[in-house]
């Protein structure tokens, strides 16, 4: 067992998987020689050579498009998009090829590829470095979308993503990259894609969140002890496909539901979760299933970002509102 942060967990999972499977190829802008702008791929080129870990030219469409070609011919590409805000030039390849190749070719060609990207805000960054657009990917059939919140899940989910026979969008909350460390197993292990995790059990309300919102929810829950409110906190971990069962079981128990996310509100992942709760647990509802999210604006630059960010105080307030509904 080693004590690692999220960056180190990513690095370890890549390192170990590349050791066991020499069809895994890691690449992206600056991913090779210097190991990526966040050092997630540090040491991989040194260890596995330039053929298995390399710097690409500045071409997101090329990175994903070539990854598709590699995957079709039996390699396992793990491609890095430097920031999620720069994935748009590759949207065409992701949404109309990676997601569809299996269906289009009736299973003859598949794209077992991982597309990693630093995700989310609250790091006082420049424009295009703070968005959360998981909902865009999740709307596309054929893609899986994963967002870990801690080093244990990060390693386990990355390993699952690499082993997954379909394309996985792997979103890494950059706010959590080095935020804390955790003791995690040294060996290869999997955290299943598509399974949420109940982080703590409670009676009064179900709260679903993911990524960097998890620690914020935990802080809010601690604050809520004095109000005598107990919370079922669920780390969704996989945005698509959603673990409807875990969520609906919880809501049937608590009767109240809140989803917390960083992304803007409208047409976000929160809306899908609310709809699922309506479909699966309507008759248990004691209050409107609700969401607490970013505002429907472009993420503000640093001097205004604090308004936008969901924090424990906002979460506590919203939970109390629902408890008192």
């Amino acid at each position: 067992m080693a004590v690692l942060n999220n960056i180190e967990a990513l690095n370890q999972s890549l390192m170990q998987m590349m050791e066991t499977d020499d069809t895994i190829i890691v690449f992206g802008e600056d991913s090779g020689f210097e190991g990526g702008v966040f050092r997630v791929t540090k040491g991989l080129q040194e260890k596995f050579g330039k053929e298995r870990c390399f710097d690409t030219p500045l071409t997101e469409a090329g990175i994903v498009g070539s990854g598709i070609g590699m995957a079709i011919t039996g390699l396992k590409p793990v491609a890095e998009i430097q920031f999620q805000g720069f994935v748009f030039p590759a949207m065409n390849q992701i949404m109309i090829h990676a997601a569809r190749m299996r269906n289009r070719s009736r299973g003859r060609f598949t794209v077992p590829m991982v597309i990693r990207m630093p995700y989310g805000g609250a790091v006082r960054a420049l424009e295009h470095h703070s968005e959360s657009i998981e909902a865009l990917f999740a709307h596309i059939p054929g893609l899986k979308v994963v967002i870990p919140s801690n080093p244990y899940d990060t390693k386990g989910l990355m390993i699952s993503a690499i082993k997954d026979p379909d394309p996985v969008i792997f979103l890494e909350p950059k706010r959590l990259y080095r935020a804390f460390k955790q003791e995690i197993p040294d060996e290869i292990y999997e955290v299943p894609i598509g399974k949420a995790r109940v982080l703590q059990e409670g009676e009064d309300i179900t709260v679903v969140a993911w990524g960097a919102m998890i620690p914020e929810c935990q802080k809010a829950i601690t604050m809520l002890k004095e109000n005598n409110v107990s919370v079922d906190l669920i780390d969704l971990r996989t945005i698509s496909p959603i673990d409807k069962e875990t969520i609906s079981q919880s809501v049937k128990k608590t009767g109240r539901f809140l989803v917390v996310h960083e992304a803007v509100k409208s047409f976000g992942a929160g809306a899908e979760l609310i709809s699922i709760v309506n479909e699966k647990a309507f008759l248990s509802l004691e209050a409107p299933p609700s969401r607490l999210t970013g505002f429907d604006v472009t993420v503000p630059l640093a001097k205004g970002e604090h308004h936008f960010i969901v924090n424990p105080e906002k979460i506590k307030n919203k939970i109390m509102e629902l408890i008192n509904f």
Binding site: G255, F282, L283, S284, L285, E286, A287
Partner: protein, 57 residues
Amino acid sequence: EKSEKPSLRKKVLATPVARKMAKDLGVDITLVKGSGTMGRVMKEDIKNFHSSDNKKK
């Protein structure tokens, strides 16, 4: 079929849980006077209605 619908289109404010409770207890929720904000029918209202209804019987 449609005949199962609550009587006379009278609309009440209530949570899904309260509505279910009414249904389970055989209470016509449209007859219950709500004590909540804007006349919302609370679970207590249904319980009270039900027990007073039972007493009457």
